[in-house]
């Protein structure tokens, strides 16, 4: 019973809890056992909170015993990317700089998930300071893709994607600055949503690029995703970029119907660098939606190719400013030196890894006197053009559709030698962050045994329509039911 239930969705687990078929303690123990069994290979977790999780579960079980009404996420075990602050629990950003940092407060999402009665199993691996597309930049561990241990899980939220794909958590939260939720969701075959900028509070999310960062859920199903977004989204007065919008119940959009919905296919997302097999898989997905009554036609987002340089200038400029705070004084790593300036420089030299330093360098350069107009200001103007492309497309379409990533998961080391090659693989995801709109990646099939993801992009604060299309697609396909087999065991409902 227990080991089977870890493969189920959040909503199925909720039913099991309500009907007392499984207790939250049993569910939590089953996940912990699963982590012990597969995580030595996968290395998704940086911190596992066995005792704390069991104590939380016991509390929920007391509520169940008293027949109290159970919230949708109550008693459900989950994991948080290690850049979201957890009071009293180490939050490392997968960096030596924050190796022993214990936050004195919770991120708003941590608070909200706690209030929703979820069980925090632990903190999961990521690229250092969320900078990367493969999780290879973690200071601590190399997280592996459960579909092929020789391949990366994607990044930067690699651990959060793997935890869900390998049934090491029922759901997880990641953060997405240029694709860091959607691309690993695609590589690992799970559902990943980057909500509209401003929909989910960033308070307590350790900043990378403040105008682009956004937190969102990884889940096994579209329904689960809507349930988790329900719990974490909404205005937060403590985040000055949080938007006071009318938050709907996202599960209301889960209807199996796309008749008459206008779906645009931006041709620039099928250009050079897109694996033809991936394009073919997405084409099949488009056909499914056409067969279900969607109105699909091609469209253009003409400034797409400029998104990568604009993104990397803006993101690194913001990062160089945000990461200036790591100076060895108030928290984090400190190197010894004779004077304070030497201490700053040596602390940052030893505390940051190569990719973080590279981005600080690029961003500092882009903001420096004499280059600001040519790089940073220029990039911000191009950002306007990219946003305008989307505004124009959404006059004609409800949703835009593309592959989430140009390829399936690549092998370790394949792209890490040349930073520019790694950056170019973000072409299908970074424009969305520049425009601030929501986008979701859903399982759309396999190429040579590796998952591919379909990306749906929507208007600002129209996550609902994305959920509707995603849900309809999911109900009419079986990609999401397939699971990776680990250590020889074949899990759950499908086989490859």
């Amino acid at each position: 019973m227990e080991s089977v239930s870890i493969g189920k969705s959040v909503s199925e687990q909720h039913e099991l809890l309500v009907h007392k078929d499984v207790s939250s303690t049993e569910l939590t123990k089953a996940y912990i056992a699963r982590i012990h069994s597969v995580d030595p290979d996968l290395q998704a977790y940086l911190t596992v909170l066995e005792d704390k999780a069991l104590a939380q579960a016991a509390e929920i079980d007391r509520k169940i015993a008293h027949n109290e009404v159970l919230g949708a996420l109550e008693g459900i075990p989950m994991a948080l990317k290690d850049n979201m602050c957890t009071e009293g629990i180490r939050t490392s950003c997968a960096s030596k700089m924050l190796e022993s940092f214990i936050p004195p407060y919770n991120a708003t999402v941590t608070d909200r998930l706690q209030a929703a009665g979820t069980i925090l199993l632990g903190k999961v691996n990521m690229d250092e300071f969320a900078m990367g597309s493969s999780t290879e930049n973690s200071y601590f561990a190399k997280t592996r893709n459960p579909w092929d241990l020789e391949r990366v899980p994607g990044g930067s939220s690699g651990g959060a994607a793997v935890a869900v794909a390998a049934d090491e958590a029922s759901f997880s939260l990641g953060s997405d600055t240029g694709g860091s939720i959607r691309q690993p969701a695609s590589f690992c075959g799970v559902v990943g949503m980057k909500p509209t900028y401003g929909a989910v509070s960033r308070l307590g999310l350790i900043a990378f690029a403040s105008s682009l960062d956004q937190i969102g859920p990884f889940t096994k199903t579209v329904r689960d995703n809507a349930l988790v977004l329900n719990a974490i989204a909404g205005y937060d007065p403590l985040d000055s970029t949080s938007v006071a919008y009318e938050k709907p119940d996202y599960t209301k959009f889960l209807v199996n119907n796309v008749k008459g919905l206008r779906i645009g296919i931006p041709r620039e997302y099928y250009g050079e660098g897109i694996d033809p097999e991936v394009a073919k898989g997405i084409q099949a997905g488009i056909q499914t939606l056409i067969d279900l009554g969607a109105e699909v036609s091609e469209c253009s987002l003409p400034h797409t190719e400029y998104a990568i340089p604009a993104y990397y200038l803006i993101a690194t400029a913001e990062a160089s400013s945000n990461l200036a705070r790591y100076d060895g004084v108030r928290y984090g790593y400190r190197a010894e030196a004779e004077d304070v300036l030497g201490m700053f420089k040596q602390t940052r030299a030893e505390g940051f890894g190569p990719e973080v330093k590279r981005r600080i360098m690029l961003g500092t350069y882009a903001l420096s006197s004499g280059y600001y107009d040519a790089y940073y200001l220029k990039a911000q103007k191009v950002r306007t053009l990219i946003k305008r492309d989307f505004d124009q497309a959404f006059e004609k379409f409800d949703v835009l559709l593309s592959p989430t990533a140009p390829t399936t998961a690549f092998k370790f080391g394949e792209k890490s030698a040349d930073p520019l090659t790694m950056y170019l693989s973000d072409i299908t995801t970074v424009p969305i962050n520049l425009a601030g709109i929501p986008a979701i990646s859903i399982p759309a099939g396999f190429v040579k045994g590796m998952p591919i993801g379909m990306q749906l992009m929507g208007k600002a604060f129209d996550e609902g329509t994305l959920y509707r299309v995603a849900y309809t697609f999911e109900q009419n396909t079986n990609h999401h039911t397939l699971k990776p087999s680990l250590s020889g065991e074949v899990l759950a409902s499908g086989s490859r």
Binding site: F101, I102, P104, Y105, T196, Y197, G198, S211, P237, S240, T241, V243, H303, E305, Y306, P309, A310, S320, A324, D327, G328, V329, R330, Y331, G332, R334, A337, E338, D339, V340, L341, G342, M343, K345, R348, A349, F352, P354, K357, R358, I360, M361, L362, Y365, S368, L377, K378, Q380, K381, V382, R383, T384, L385, K387, D418, L420, L434, A435, G436, A460
Partner: protein, 98 residues
């Protein structure tokens, strides 16, 4: 490849960013930053003279609140993560050698 950024530029930027770089790092970053900036030069193809820059995708305004005293984390908690905290202060090495 164009040398948009020289070795001296890299050393200057490292000083601005308070990063002590090793000799191999200086060489590596000079090469890599040139390659990235070379690629970014494609932005020059776009005429953006009349385009307003976007700092945030969602229009947001200054958020103000009443200036009232509210609880905040206490002294001890604020200092708990300090690499060298002492009697309510963050201790650092001396500011100047001269």
């Amino acid at each position: 490849m164009n040398m948009t950024i020289s070795r001296e530029d890299v050393e200057y930027v490292a000083a601005l960013a308070r990063l002590e770089l090793t000799e191999p790092e200086i060489q590596e970053y000079t090469e890599q930053l040139n390659s990235i900036l070379d690629y970014a030069a494609m932005l020059e193809r776009l005429d953006t003279d009349d385009v307003v820059p976007t700092a945030h995708a969602v229009p947001i305004h200054n958020v103000l609140r009443e200036d009232q005293v509210r609880p905040s984390i206490n002294h001890a908690k604020a200092l708990r993560n300090a690499p060298d905290g002492d009697e309510g202060f963050f201790r650092v090495p001396r500011i100047s050698l001269t």
